[in-house]
Symmetry: C2
Subunit: 456 residues, 2 copies
């Protein structure tokens, strides 16, 4: 491989941008397990799913065979507004670490949502619009997904109702205002706008909400309001499909310069970014055409892959959604208040869970103080202020690069830098002030979640 | 001009990035007036300036003849980390406005400082390092300049002492933490770390500070600490020189596609972004090789070009800096608390002042509610959440595009989108809640500032 003249940043030409998403399920020998109806424990049918999700998205959700799925022109045009995202050669980080490793990262933070979430938000909003819907509903915790969806809906002139976990709504007013700038209605959850919200408020008058409750409210509004559907920012097969634009762009850019990664690293919460990044590479590995090491990095405080069980579980804490087979800590597991909100999910994408289960992917967990050390080191040499979530991948990439320094191996490392940390400065402040703690659940803590798994 | 196949975003190749800054002073028939020693009213000599500024920067400050000045390789490498910035064709805005105008913007917000300030920060930090200095001092208000300088200093391993106006320090803790992430020391001003700070604290115990006071503290520390110099983020000739990288890139990208702008628009506070954007285009106009309309846009609440006088004035409210000839509202003018902190400067770059005075550039002022209307309209179709400062240029660009809609003219408009508004959500919130007011100073308000002008 020729390493000459590789620029600091590789931007594909518009003509080189992907025209198709890559569906890694087509290459999987063991397909991801289907979603189950929580009442019957039978696989969810398309008809059942279409009560909640848009028709075309249900089709994508259930399609385990088509390797390539065309990206509609209107979505491609939206992608042109903020994509291609740069593939960056981390020359400065390499120099700082004095490593023979070659480090690349695919940076998804150069858009107003501040993360990769926009890649799926525009797709989901587009299909809702195509179906003639009036709007969509969703929940948001830290707010990146809600922001992305608001942006997509503003572009398509689609109504957007966001249920935002009440404590985030109050603690992150700036995120809320970004969504309002894009015309979304943002309701703190639990609220009195839904039956489930009113019930929870009656039972727990002082509650500051939870993601599970916000999902329940959003699903209720979507299913009971004419012309609305519910959309979700991670976990689902369709979301990984849309996020494959990350991996396809990255692979195209690397192929263009004759570079082949040895190790591909991503942070993993619900799995959307990692799944998207690795898709076309994993396809090659599954087909036996190439070999790569894939590493999923998760917080030690919420270790679904490294310490969870592989079982059917509820996707939400409210237990209103279908059951998914995944590595899970149990929908009743409450992660400690770490600062990577986007990684505080009890489960993991069924696709990634199956791939991990079948030995195609590794996983490791890291503690947040070491994550913020990596984040600060990265920011100072590479300029970009990374999100806490993304910094999990930075931590692992630095660790792998330091191993190369010891062994002298010139490995090529690719990691996903999913977003920026502008709205996470409270966490950075705690880190600077030495007030940040690490949380590692005990086996007893985990048992509580496992005990709540559905039994059948 | 062929308009075919113009992509949404034009990124120059690394090989096409500027290797030289463009010094528009070389083309000016009437050169900008020199800085004067406030005691003697004689032009500041290089020796005098070198007490405060780095040697090479003083050379650049005084060089009215060299049209091109080489960008050192280390600075070019730093530029490669976040540049080239995209030249964006605003297809979506054009469609929304239903205008025949062709709108382009040069987007400088895709870096962690969130603005164009980094272009000069790295240059000033580099020359400080080259001179063997230990560190630099500066002041910051809203924090964009301080962030940019912190990033540049972290990259070069140079100490960075930032004096941040106390009310901003307290109201914008996130900005402060970004600077700390990059290793800068951030001191709320006035502070007890300087003689001038202690004097002001004794005289005004409850003061929340001012930019003028912060400048005075930064200058005191720079001139009284071995191995330190003071650096400034706007107004000075050297800063406009460094910012010419914006204009050179924009012109290279437009030339590549055979596009020639009719109108070039930028917001104007101290003038660094506008001066940088227009430099190579203005050079052509001054040499009679091409014609362009240039429009400086300023807040109605701080209208230095449109309602100020052209006179020698202090650059700072503390009156410790040299006198500059510029359009000014008087260093004692206190602008109303509008939300475009970066445009709340009483004066204007001497270069731009002279060009405006000589009729080469137009100026207009706009009110902030109409600025935020434009910002929100822009965000919803173009995706990017603009800074309030940058949105002044958006307002004028939209107004010009709407004029084209009336006349049917297919004009090509280029404007500078200097930065993002992630740290300005309090202002957006006020706008959303209908709590934003417009401030237009009365003639009597302005007279107070004019009365304080130095008389000689």
């Amino acid at each position: 491989m020729s390493e000459q003249k590789i620029p600091y940043k590789i931007y594909l030409e518009e003509s080189e941008m992907p025209s198709q998403w890559y569906n890694v399920r087509a290459d999987m020998i063991t397909k991801p397990a289907p979603l189950l109806n929580p009442a019957t424990h039978e696989p969810m049918t398309a008809n059942e799913l279409e009560m909640v999700f848009c028709k075309e998205l249900v089709k994508q959700e259930l399609d385990n065979e088509s390797r390539y799925i065309d990206i509609p022109e209107k979505i491609r045009n939206f992608y042109k507004m903020y994509r291609p995202s740069p593939l960056v050669r981390a020359y400065c980080l390499e120099e700082k670490l004095q490593t023979p490793a070659k480090i690349y990262y695919k940076f998804e933070g150069n858009n107003t949502s501040g993360s990769h979430k926009l890649n799926s938000a525009i797709a989901q909003a587009f299909y809702a619009k195509e179906q003639g819907l009036r709007g969509v509903t969703t929940e948001t915790g830290a707010g990146q997904w809600g922001t992305a969806l608001s942006m997509a809906c503003a572009y398509l002139n689609l109504d957007c109702k966001v249920y935002m976990v009440k404590c985030s709504y109050e603690q992150k007013p700036f995120r809320r205002e970004v969504m309002r700038t894009y015309g979304a209605s943002v309701t703190p959850s639990p609220s009195d706008t839904t039956a489930v919200g009113r019930r929870i408020l009656a039972e727990h008058p002082g509650t500051t909400g939870s993601l599970g409750c916000a999902i329940s409210e959003a699903v209720e509004v979507a299913t009971q309001t004419e012309g609305y559907r519910y959309v979700l920012g991670s976990v689902l097969n369709q979301v990984l499909l849309h996020q494959s634009v990350i991996g396809v762009e990255a692979k195209t850019a690397m192929d263009k310069y004759g570079v082949k990664p040895d190790i591909i690293i991503g942070c993993a919460g619900g799995g959307s970014n990692l799944g998207g990044l690795i898709s076309p590479f994993m396809g090659e590995k599954l087909r036996g055409e190439a070999d790569y090491r894939f590493i999923a990095v998760e917080p030690a405080s919420c270790p679904s892959l490294t310490r969870g069980v592989y079982a059917y579980d509820f996707c939400d804490t409210g237990m209103v959604c279908p059951l998914a087979k995944m590595y899970t800590l149990g929908s009743g597991f409450i992660p400690s208040p770490n600062h990577a909100g986007g990684l505080r999910y009890h489960g993991m994408s069924s696709i990634l869970s199956q791939l991990y289960h079948d030995g195609y992917m590794e996983a490791r967990s890291v503690e947040q103080t070491s994550v913020f050390e990596a984040a600060e080191q990265f920011a100072r040499v590479e300029g970009i202020l990374p999100a806490p979530e993304s910094s999990h991948a930075i931590r692992a990439a630095i660790d792998e690069a330091l191993k190369c320094k010891e062994t002298g191996e010139e490995k090529t490392i690719l990691f996903g830098l999913t977003g920026t940390g502008y709205f996470d400065m409270i966490a950075y402040e705690k880190f600077h002030n030495g007030e940040m703690q690490d949380y590692i659940p005990t086996d007893a803590d985990l048992q509580v979640g496992f005990d709540g798994l559905p039994k059948f």
